[in-house]
């Protein structure tokens, strides 16, 4: 079971969009995963134990976990590339 954290500013809007897309993707590829949402300000304490962080915000900090910028899920530009990056990390 892979653990994916999806973060945005308030853990309400953009992370919900991105998390839904990621759940669909992982289901389609048969990768069992726990996809949960949080605020960027919570990443510091939640990052430990995660396999991947996807943020709609552009984060400058290093959490010791691979971070993918997931703005494509919101803007619709470059979604395939972002999906591939996620699969590369989780496979």
């Amino acid at each position: 079971m892979k653990k994916v954290l999806v973060a945005c500013g308030g853990a309400v809007a953009t992370s919900t969009v991105a998390a839904n897309k990621i759940r669909e993707l992982l289901k389609e590829k048969n990768i069992p995963a726990d996809v949960s949402q949080c605020r960027v300000s919570e990443l510091g304490s939640k990052a430990a134990g995660a396999d991947l962080i996807v943020t709609t915000a552009k984060v400058d900090r290093d959490y010791g976990v691979p971070v993918i910028h997931g703005v494509a899920f919101i803007s619709g530009v470059g979604v395939e590339k972002t999906k591939q990056q996620i699969l590369d990390v989780l496979n």
Binding site: G9, V12, T16, S41, S45, I74, G76
Partner: protein, 461 residues
């Protein structure tokens, strides 16, 4: 027809919106199952936020009142924050029509080349909706409410245009605009303050920024900690016994954690509409000359925005105490206070010193406005069934000059504040427009955050 509409509105948002979303889902050919799920899940969001808001107002409300009485402080009306205000907007009589109205305004402005922003950020239409809902509550007119949505959306798309170069050059987000009802409305103030600071000898050279603040103090920015700390402080100041103080601390921590957890279900219910809107906009409007309008969440990971967010948690509380006669106790918006100053960080090119100055002005004006909106905000909260008793307000959108100015223009109650805030804001917007036309909003080469990884170092003199 009106009778049917009244009946539906009387059912309350937790029942009415699921029906509306279900029908819209069917119209968008999402299928019965998926539409039903979206509909019910949005209802779950409303039930959830109702529970969390009562947890907040039933416990923090009386404590804040006791504290206010003991110290003659004010600060007795709790800020429910945007997670509390947004559901009120969606549940209002304007809520169900606001999304198509805001999109229509966007499409017309694009067709007539009045904006370059293609706004696909459907969630944040709640800001425009809130303006409409507040105007409608104050005036009792549905159509004036719609006018509020139109004015707010047209204005915010223009601001999106003006600050797109800042989003591109400072935050490195090319082709993106942030037409946002709190992060972007406050930006014109920052433009004026930046220009003023540029003229003051000595001060104009002060520049510091920090990446260490997050490492050292990141924990105080965590919602659980903010909630617990506020619960402790307010319970203590209210003169509660220790056992009650501790209870309040854990309850407020719970509010902070649970708020987004329940509000996200409202977003989940809106997903089919958001998807459909994005597809329509994508198909019609493509081109290199357009910006995609997105949520300011994109800016919140920037290290200087993170640093400012941390500083403004205590600073906003200090400002709230210092403003004479202030009744508003900042709470719900504290966990994402960075939204208010996110664009300002870009305008000041990551200079934390300037961000603190302009942010303090922005928060003071926000709190002042939120005070004057308590009456109509509370009325909206009761109409939408969010609260049964007591008073509420919010910083984001209850403290927005756009909602305030429109409401006062149509339903005058505070003439002097209207003149002061109206002229300050009008001046800032005109000044911002002139700077935009001269390409001066983000002029010289900036010190980017990557280059400036030192802590609190003053450069210059």
């Amino acid at each position: 027809m009106m009778a049917v509409l009244d009946y539906l509105l009387d059912l309350g948002p937790a029942v009415m919106l699921p029906l509306v979303i279900f029908v819209i889902g069917l119209l968008l050919r999402q299928g019965v199952g998926k539409s039903l799920r979206s509909g019910i899940i949005i209802g779950v969001g409303f039930v959830g936020i109702g529970l969390v808001i009562s947890l907040l107002t039933d416990n923090l409300g009386p404590a804040a009142q006791d504290m206010a009485d003991r110290f003659n402080l004010g600060l007795s009306v709790v800020d429910v924050g945007w997670p509390g205000a947004a559901p009120m907007a969606w549940a209002s009589s304007i809520g169900t029509v606001a999304i198509p109205v805001a999109i229509l305004v966007n499409v017309l402005m694009l067709v007539f080349k009045m904006t370059r922003v293609v706004n696909v950020d459907i969630w944040n239409i709640w800001h425009m909706t809130f303006t409409g809902a507040i105007v409608s509550t104050a005036t009792g007119s549905f159509w004036l409410g719609i006018l509020g949505v139109v004015v707010h959306s047209a204005f915010i798309y223009k601001l999106g245009d003006w600050f797109a170069p800042t989003v591109d050059k400072h935050f490195g987000l090319e082709g993106i605009a942030i037409p946002h009802g709190s992060g972007t409305w406050s930006a014109p103030f920052a433009v004026v303050i930046d220009a003023i600071l540029d003229k003051i000898p000595g001060i104009r050279k002060v520049n510091f920024n920090s990446t260490k603040i997050e490492d050292r103090f990141g924990v105080i920015g965590e919602p659980v900690i903010i909630g617990a700390a506020l619960g402790l402080i307010i319970g203590f100041l209210a003169g509660y016994p220790v056992s009650d103080v501790l209870q309040l601390a854990v309850q407020m921590s719970a509010v902070m954690v649970l708020m987004p957890t329940v509000v996200k279900f409202i977003m989940e219910g809106l997903l089919p509409i958001a998807e459909a809107a994005r597809e329509i906009l994508d198909k019609r409007f493509q081109g290199q000359n357009l910006y995609i309008g997105l949520d300011p969440a994109l800016l919140l990971g920037n290290s200087q925005v993170v640093a400012a967010s941390l500083i403004f948690v205590p600073l906003t509380l200090v400002i709230a105490v210092l403003i004479p006669g202030n009744q508003v106790l900042p709470f719900g918006d504290l966990a994402t206070i960075g939204f208010f100053v996110s664009m300002a960080v870009g305008i000041h090119k990551g200079n934390l010193f300037r961000t603190i100055i302009s942010g303090a002005v922005i928060m003071a004006i926000t709190i002042w406005i939120a005070n004057m909106m308590i009456g109509v905000h509370t009325e909206l909260a009761r109409q939408t069934g969010t609260i049964q008793s007591g008073q509420v307000t919010s910083l984001d959108q209850g403290g927005s000059p756009i909602s305030f100015i429109l409401t006062e223009l149509l339903h005058l109650q505070n003439l002097v504040p209207l003149i002061i805030i109206g002229s300050l804001y009008l001046f800032s917007v005109i000044f911002t427009y002139i700077q935009f036309k001269r390409n001066k909003i983000y002029a010289e080469e900036a010190v980017t955050t990557e280059e400036a990884g030192y802590e609190s170092t003053r450069t210059g003199q």
